[in-house]
Structures are given as structure tokens and as C-alpha cells.
Point group: C2
Chain length 99, copies 2
């Protein structure tokens, strides 16, 4: 889980996900919205893809990206378990007050 969070925790990548949240965009559309270079965008998209947070299709020489909403939902669901009560979790194995 921390691996997914690390990918999302970068402000540029989070903004990319936000931009994609309304629908498909190509890399060059995204690039125009950022200050960083094209190889940097390529690097971010690769990370997002490798971690299944986005999906890609080829359209001519363009890469069209969209959110993988299922994976993102799954991540937020798991994260919300932290603030919910009475779920199976590692904290049950803790011995309190042993120090």
C-alpha cells in the first residue's frame, strides 16, 4: 500500500491524476500544463502506469491516458480502514504497556 501512496504522494503526479479525473488526455496535453520537461513527464507517466493507477492506449503517435478508477477506489477504501473501527488489523497483535 505504501508503494501506491508513494506514487500518488508526488504533487506533480497527484495533479496529473486530478487532470485525468474528468476523462482521457494525451501526454502532450498534460505536458502543456506543467513547467517540467517532457522526459520528466514521461517518467511520471511510466511510474503511474507501472503501478496501475492509469491506463493507456495508443492513438496514432499519441499516448492517451485515463484513470484506473478501480485501483484508486481500492486504495482509498483500504486507507479509510485506518479511521474505521473494528476491522482485522495488525494492531491486535500488539502487546501494550510492555515497556
Amino acid at each position: 500500500m505504501s508503494q501506491y501512496l508513494k506514487v500518488i504522494a508526488d504533487s506533480s503526479r497527484l495533479e496529473i491524476l486530478d487532470l485525468l479525473s474528468c476523462g482521457e488526455l494525451c501526454a502532450c496535453d498534460l505536458l502543456e500544463h506543467f513547467e517540467f520537461s517532457q522526459p520528466t513527464l514521461s517518467h511520471h507517466m511510466k511510474l503511474l502506469r507501472e503501478n496501475d493507477l492509469i491506463l493507456m492506449r495508443k492513438d496514432g503517435n499519441k499516448n492517451m491516458y485515463r484513470l484506473n478508477k478501480a485501483v484508486i477506489e481500492n486504495l482509498t477504501d483500504k486507507l479509510s480502514l485506518l479511521s474505521s473501527e473494528a476491522v482485522p488489523c495488525i494492531c491486535h497483535d500488539m502487546d501494550k504497556g510492555s515497556c
Copy 2:
């Protein structure tokens, strides 16, 4: 938001939050569950506190920690907006296909 996520994205801190999800624990209880040193734990707790993800009270010479569930809920709520439709978001300002 990415600041919060960066704090949570570390696997040690995520595990600390998980351990705290069942209730209050002192730093020394937590320390016994990890391989790293006491100063490292202290550093992690400081980060979690500075970002309001946990709350602390003093009990003698011990620090008692608990989750700040409100903040964590707020974070997961905002994150879940990514995978939901039709919310106000920066992607509406995008000009698609301008490249």
C-alpha cells in the same frame, strides 16, 4: 494534500498508523514493534504530529499517541474525489487536443 500523502506513504509510518488504529499506544510500545532506533521513531512521530495525523498526550514521562481520525477521514474523502465523477476540479480548465 500531497504533503499529507508523503507522510503516510512511508511504510514505517503507515504501520504506525495501523498500530494506532485500535487505540492509544505509547512510543515505547511502538518502538518494540520496529527494527529501527529510538531516534528514528521519534522522527517519525514528530512528522506524524506536525501534520496532525496523530494526537499526543503526556502521561508521566511517556508520550501517549492516538490517531487523529478526523484528519485521516478528511484525507481519504478528498482522495476518493479522484475516482468520482462530476466534482469541481482543475481538469475543467484543461484545453484538450491543443497539441
